[in-house]
């Protein structure tokens, strides 16, 4: 009799165990699915045209003195004038801080005279991208030169 009861109890515990294992797995999957659907920036509920968002993100490369734009000691900023000395990776990472975020990646190529320099953001990696060329003025050693800034965009992963 004692043996029979023991077996029955063990049987129930095993069934419960299997149930809870399956339930906990399904619950975790459903939980993350709901969060992915509603809290993620991949949600399609309120879509912003990608070109519009790209435009705002690109503006800093030609307008912001934190990036590459020429800024005089007096504080005056010259939009669309790229200071060649500032066009490097450290300045790019400082003005477009992608650390710990899932956002668009950029690769910039500045061409003037016979010089061609390319820098890319930390999160740049893939092959799918769109590009736009902007005519800029490049400031180097006190002289101004005509140049081109080729900006490639890669969507957030």
């Amino acid at each position: 009799m004692a043996k029979r009861l023991f077996n029955k109890k063990a049987d129930m515990s095993a069934r419960k165990m299997v149930f809870y294992m399956v339930f906990s797995f399904v619950a975790v999957v459903v939980f993350f699915l709901i969060f992915w659907m509603f809290s993620s920036n991949k949600s399609q509920i309120a879509e912003i045209p990608s070109g519009f968002e790209n435009f705002f993100l690109m503006q800093r490369f030609t307008n912001s003195p934190i990036c590459f734009t020429l800024k005089e000691e007096s504080g005056r900023v010259y939009p669309w004038v790229i200071d060649a000395k500032k066009f490097d990776l450290s300045n790019l990472n400082r003005c477009y801080d992608t650390y710990n975020t899932n956002t668009k990646a950029f690769r910039l190529t500045l061409t003037y005279k016979n010089v061609k320099t390319t820098v890319s953001t930390r999160n740049w990696e893939g092959i799918l991208n769109k590009g736009v060329t902007r005519k800029v003025i490049v400031y180097q050693d006190g002289a101004l030169e005509k140049g081109e800034l080729f900006i490639e965009v890669q969507d957030a992963k």
Partner: protein
């Protein structure tokens, strides 16, 4: 006696789990049905775009948003959350890209307005105009 206690405990745990799952499902369904999720997500995207836009401005400036529908806002590092309360499961979340000198970590509970400003190349967020 021990067996009965064990059964009651399991039943209690199952009940709590069922209530929790039911609450989550109901809360999300209501948010979806009332379109509040759209409002929150749109607001989050608006804030993110404002920060990105201000980061591309050569000088100083600020943008005021006062049509917040009674939601709270949490800006942290590179993302913004819009929510009813801290237990809100259907938060509107969106990412932005700050510049390296800006330290962003501010929670505004049901503010009248949100002011995003760029002063001396730094993005700051507050409820009043700085």
């Amino acid at each position: 006696m021990e067996k009965r206690a064990e059964i009651s405990l399991w039943f209690l745990l199952e009940l709590v789990a069922a209530i929790l799952v039911g609450y989550m499902a109901a809360d999300l369904s209501v948010a979806y049905a009332q379109n509040t999720i759209y409002e929150k997500l749109n607001l989050a995207k608006d804030f993110a775009m404002q920060i990105d836009a201000l980061s591309g401005v050569p000088g100083d400036g600020y943008i005021i948003t006062n049509n917040l529908h009674g939601y709270s806002v949490y800006f942290k590092d590179n993302s913004v959350e819009v929510f009813d309360d801290s237990q809100d499961l259907a938060k509107g979340t969106y990412g932005f890209v700050k510049n390296g000198d800006s330290k962003i970590d501010i929670r505004l509970i049901k503010p009248k307005q949100v002011v995003i400003s760029k002063i001396d190349d730094r993005i700051t967020i507050s409820e009043e105009i700085p």
